[in-house]
Symmetry: C2
Subunit: 104 residues, 2 copies
C-alpha cells in the first residue's frame, strides 16, 4: 500500500517559514509593489498592526525572502523588496492567486 513517510516534506518546510496569518499576504503585497514602504504596506495589508507587520518583516528578512533597504535618512525611509529567493516563490503565489480568484 501507498505508505507515506512521516518525515517532513517540502510542504512542511514551506509552512514552517511562511505559516501564520500574514506572511503569504505580505510577500504578495511586496511583489505587487516592489520598494513599498512600511506604512503603505501596512495600509495595503488588511488591518495588520505595525507590531505584527514589523515582526513578520523581520522574520521574512532573516529567512531570506525579503530585502530591507534602509536609506538612513531623517525622517526614516525604508523600502522593502523581494530577494531572489522571494521572487522565485512568486510564480507559485501567482498560481495560487489565480486559483483563489477562480475557485473560491
Amino acid at each position: 500500500m501507498n505508505q507515506v513517510s512521516q518525515t517532513s516534506c517540502g510542504i512542511s518546510k514551506v509552512m514552517s517559514q511562511l505559516g501564520g496569518k500574514w506572511k503569504f499576504l505580505i510577500i504578495w503585497r511586496i511583489h505587487q509593489n516592489e520598494g513599498i514602504r512600511f506604512n503603505q504596506l501596512q495600509r495595503d495589508t488588511n488591518g495588520i498592526t505595525n507590531v505584527m507587520l514589523n515582526r513578520c518583516l523581520k522574520e521574512l528578512t532573516q529567512d531570506g525572502f525579503v530585502l530591507r533597504k534602509d536609506f538612513h535618512s531623517v525622517p526614516p525611509h525604508v523600502e522593502y523588496y523581494l530577494t531572489k529567493q522571494g521572487k522565485s516563490f512568486i510564480k507559485i503565489m501567482e498560481a495560487m492567486n489565480d486559483w483563489g480568484e477562480n475557485n473560491l
Copy 2:
C-alpha cells in the same frame, strides 16, 4: 480557524479556507494516498491530534476540498478522497512541495 479577510485577493481567499497549521498538509497527504483512512492519516500527519484532524477534515469537507466516503459498517470504515476542486489545487501544492525541497 483562520480569519484573513476574504475580500481583497485570491491569496486572501485561499488563506481564509486553507490557513492554519494543518490543512495544506492534510490535503497533501490525502493526495499521496487517496482513500486513506482516519487513523492512517493521523499517523502520517506529523503529530496531529485526532481532535484537530477531525475538525480540519470536517471543514475541508464542508469547503469542498475533501470527499468523505463512509461505508456505514461496524467497525466503522471511512475513506477520504480529494474532490475535483481539491485535486485542482494539487498542481499548486506540487510546485510548492518541489520549491520547498529545493529552496529551504
